[in-house]
């Protein structure tokens, strides 16, 4: 259910991007979402569709790419993709590590409808 919280934050952050660029009606929002965020795509789409009503994003659609998780072993510095919730280094077997990628929650592009921008 954290998809609702994330959808709310997406709407807020997108409005900031649009305002900073002179305003307009949003057609598409492009996101980058890390695998470790455990975002369920259908849940996010549903939440976004519910929450966008009555906002300047009412006609916007969501698009995203998932960034695979990448962890750096604290013991031997090997970078690997964890296949399980428990992170175990494939080279040395050490447990845990630092996240290199997979925690992204970014807006990477906003498309405005033709003729709706402030220019």
């Amino acid at each position: 259910m954290h998809e609702f919280s994330i959808a709310e934050a997406i709407i807020h952050a997108t409005q900031e991007v649009v305002q900073a660029n002179g305003g307009g009606k949003v057609e598409e929002i492009h996101l980058r979402i890390g695998e470790l965020r455990q975002v369920v795509p259908d849940a996010l789409l549903f939440a976004f569709d519910v929450l966008k009503q009555d906002t300047p994003l009412a006609e916007a659609s969501l698009h995203w790419e998932t960034v695979p998780a990448q962890v750096r072993c604290k013991a031997c510095n090997t970078e690997y993709h964890p296949n399980d919730v428990f992170w175990e280094c494939p080279s040395c077997g050490a447990i845990g590590g630092e996240v290199v990628a997979g925690e992204e929650l970014d807006i990477v592009g906003v498309t405005l409808m033709e003729g709706s921008d402030g220019d």
């Binding site: 954290h2 919280s5 991007v17 807006i107 592009g109």
Partner: protein, 213 residues
């Protein structure tokens, strides 16, 4: 027109969390963000700490709940400053709510601040509140599989409290599995075994708190 950006979705909350962090640092206050499922005993853990530490440590409490002031009333009976945040159905606290509460609670007069998040093992993990430490609370009655099912909380917490250990004889709680799973997610994290009901482990909990000050 396409606008190319890299904007963090959580940016607004992160900025407010930084303000909270700075405010806490200026006041010399250690703040704990308690995260658990509903009914794990967060309020009881806070009450237990207040009873043990009152008079020695200046404590304040921010209570987060979707509705009611029941938890704040419980804390107020112990005669410490408390602010209740009602999220009106919202499933987590956000940094702006904490920022407002800090002024109300007169944070400058405190040393230790408990922030009891809304009972939920998922959403609160995504929202930094600017806390000094994050506390994961699990009660034995919830089962030993919570760490494996909700890994992000246990990865990002600095301490895990296993509460209601007095119920263990009546449960199929596999403590060995629980401990192993927590350690596989976060190898160095302390796991405190507590029963607020019998008082077992409460002194380890308060000891851990005192060492943070």
């Amino acid at each position: 027109m396409e606008i190319k950006v890299v904007k963090r979705i959580m940016e607004a909350n992160e900025q407010h969390a930084e303000v909270v962090r700075r405010r806490l640092r200026e006041s010399g206050v250690v703040a704990l963000n308690l995260i658990s499922a509903p009914g794990s005993g967060k309020t009881s853990l806070i009450e237990a700490a207040i009873r043990e530490l009152k008079g020695r440590v200046r404590i304040g409490v921010i209570e987060g709940d979707p509705d009611t002031t029941r938890d704040a009333e419980r804390i107020a009976r112990l005669d410490v400053p408390v602010v209740q945040i009602n999220t009106e159905g919202g499933c987590h606290l956000e940094a702006t709510m904490v920022l407002r509460a800090l002024e109300e609670i007169e944070v400058d007069n405190l040393q230790l601040l408990f922030i009891e998040n809304v009972g939920n093992l998922v959403c609160p993990v995504v929202f930094d509140l600017g806390e000094t430490y994050r506390v994961a609370v699990v009660s034995a009655a919830e089962g030993h599989d919570k760490p494996a099912k909700y890994p992000a909380l246990f990865r990002t917490a600095q301490v895990t409290v296993l509460n209601k250990i007095d119920l263990m004889p009546y449960l199929d709680f596999d403590e060995e599995q629980f401990t192993a799973d927590v350690r596989r997610l976060n190898p160095e994290i302390p796991i405190l075994r507590v029963s607020c009901r019998t008082g077992e482990g409460v002194s380890e909990w308060t000891e851990w708190l005192l060492q943070r000050l």
